[in-house]
């Protein structure tokens, strides 16, 4: 991977990844030559498209070790999560009305839970520890007789921590409670084995794993069988779970992306880990830099750091040669810092001072070195500008200062 350094440097691979050129090559013929509708049963155009869609289904199934028949194509992880949670809640509502999730989940889960609350379901949002991990005892004590579904993400999108999915699965299966896992950030990073995991529903996205945007899949277990109420009605595609003409070129792209992930994951993970460790070592040469979330139970692709006494949005502005994202939501209309970092019990200052670096398949050593140098220069400059840094250097404990909130 020796390439000349070009700016800006992309370190936001948890937002999305580039489509791998090998994936793009596979997709193109399905736009122009093999454009048939996979649902057309009466001619070769349709057969060719259907064959490609089913091959892609096998490729996705191979990565996560399930039966291809257990996968439903969707438009992405958000739709998969909506279908899983609403579909299961509506189907099983006579069994109970209680749902459980975690405060640090993605908005696709949290907002869907809110919608289900509006429809009369009850939801519990579990706290996490300072390391970002769910305490299983807390989950166990939240389970009720009328709990029908638990939803927990495999890998957190902001801090990259890995929840104990095998143990949560055991806990739920013993009680006959459905377990949904949002695995959007896990494919190509963690080993996923649906033969072993006691997971009933799992959501996937293509574009976090070097596939195209606009396609994803939902795993729906057949043994024991999980039923869902469809959320999209129409031609009865995907065994009635999700109607709509299949986006065959996107699906081919997701299949190829997941095939490559299976082949290359082990090597890629160690290469990324080495670069992440160098990035962290470089940053740690500065004072008052903190890692958000557990560093061990975490995908190596993610490094979420707080640069104390520097505000995140101004730091992102200063490091405009590096594409990263901030835990400070100051960039939107609200002034609230990241709800994920707040859930870890981080102070508002540290939450406002955070940057998420996410490395990927195409990150190079030269990019990591540049990032370290660049950040060190810019953080020093902003700290020279910061009255909080000045107070810290004078030995003032900022938590004892009475601030006039505005």
């Amino acid at each position: 991977m020796k390439r000349p350094l070009t700016l800006p440097i992309y370190l936001d691979n948890s937002a999305t990844t580039p489509v791998d050129p090998r994936v793009a090559q596979k997709m193109i013929p399905f736009l122009t030559e093999h454009f048939g509708n996979p649902a057309s049963r009466s001619h070769a155009f349709g057969w060719k498209a259907e064959e490609a869609v089913e091959q892609a289904r096998e490729q996705v199934a191979a990565l996560v070790r399930c039966d291809a028949k257990e996968l439903v194509w969707t438009s992405g992880a958000t739709e998969s999560i909506n279908l899983a949670l609403k579909g299961a809640a509506e189907f099983y509502k006579t069994k109970g009305k209680h749902l459980i999730t975690v405060r640090t989940e993605h908005k696709a889960t949290l907002d869907t839970m809110r919608e289900l609350e509006r429809r009369g379901f009850e939801a519990t949002y579990l706290e996490v520890g300072a390391d970002g991990l769910l305490d299983l005892n807390q989950l166990e004590s939240a389970l009720r007789k009328d709990t029908i579904l638990v939803s927990v993400m495999f890998v957190n999108n902001e801090i990259g921590v890995i929840q104990d999915i095998p143990a949560i699965g055991e806990l739920c299966r013993k009680r006959g409670i459905l377990f949904h896992v949002d695995a959007a950030q896990a494919t190509g990073k963690c080993d996923l084995d649906l033969q072993a995991l006691k997971v009933d529903l799992m959501s996937f996205s293509a574009h976090k794993t070097y596939g195209p945007k606009g396609v994803g899949a939902l795993y729906v277990r057949r043994k024991p069988r999980v039923r869902l109420e469809a959320q999209m009605h129409g031609g009865g595609h995907e065994r009635g779970f999700r109607s709509g003409t299949l986006a065959s070129h996107q699906i081919v792209g997701m299949g190829e992306a997941f095939r490559l992930a299976k082949l290359e994951m082990a090597v890629e993970r160690e290469r990324v880990r080495a670069m992440r460790d160098q990035l962290l070592a470089g940053m740690n040469q500065m004072e008052e830099v903190f890692v958000n979330g557990d560093l061990e139970r975490r995908v190596p692709h993610n490094l979420n750091l707080s640069f104390n006494f520097v505000e995140g949005e101004s730091l992102i502005m200063a490091v405009k040669d590096i594409a990263v994202s901030s835990g400070s939501a100051c960039t939107s209309a609200s002034l609230e810092p990241s709800y994920v970092l707040r859930a870890l019990g981080r102070s508002d200052e540290l939450a406002h001072s955070s940057i998420r670096f996410t490395l990927g398949r195409f990150t190079t050593q030269a990019e990591v070195d540049y990032t370290v140098d660049h950040l060190r220069t810019k953080v020093a400059k902003l700290r020279d500008l910061s009255p909080l840094w000045e107070m810290h250097k004078e030995g003032i404990d900022l938590s004892t200062v009475q601030w006039a909130a505005h």
Binding site: S314, L335, S386, A404, A405
Partner: protein, 140 residues
């Protein structure tokens, strides 16, 4: 978010960054905002015997618009009398920097910082007059 050229200029080349001695009689210090809200501004003015602001310094923890707003007002207050400085409105700051609606609070904070610095200077000098007055009364 797209920043205006003036915001970017102040952000890249902030004017009058630094600190004066808080204890100096000729210095007024204003510190406004809170870390929890994502911005804290410290503005200091140095006032001449004629009551005119001779110099100003700032330090800001906050987004680019907050840094630019405070950098701008350090330029504006120089050469102004205390009451003239205190009458600078946030709308003038926002207009000068073309701040978008979500960043108006940055200009409000800068206005508050000037007022706080002027207030601090005035307080110091009320005390000073009293301090001078006390020995005279005790002598009498």
């Amino acid at each position: 978010m797209a920043y205006s050229e003036k915001v970017l200029d102040h952000y890249e080349n902030p004017r009058n960054v630094g600190s004066f001695d808080k204890g100096d009689e000729s210095v007024g210090t204003g510190m406004v905002g809170a870390p929890a809200c994502g911005d804290v501004m410290k503005l200091q003015i140095k006032v001449g015997k004629d009551g005119v602001i001779e110099d100003a310094r700032f330090k800001t923890y906050g987004c680019g618009s907050a840094i630019a707003s405070s950098s701008l007002v350090t330029e504006w207050v120089k050469g102004k009398k205390l009451d003239e400085a205190a009458s600078i409105r946030n709308t003038q700051i926002a207009a000068e920097l073309s701040l978008p609606p979500v960043k108006i609070h940055c200009s409000i904070l800068a206005e508050d910082a000037i007022k706080a610095a002027v207030e601090d200077y005035k307080k110091k000098h009320v005390k000073e007059e009293k301090a001078e007055a006390i020995p005279e009364t005790t002598r009498a």
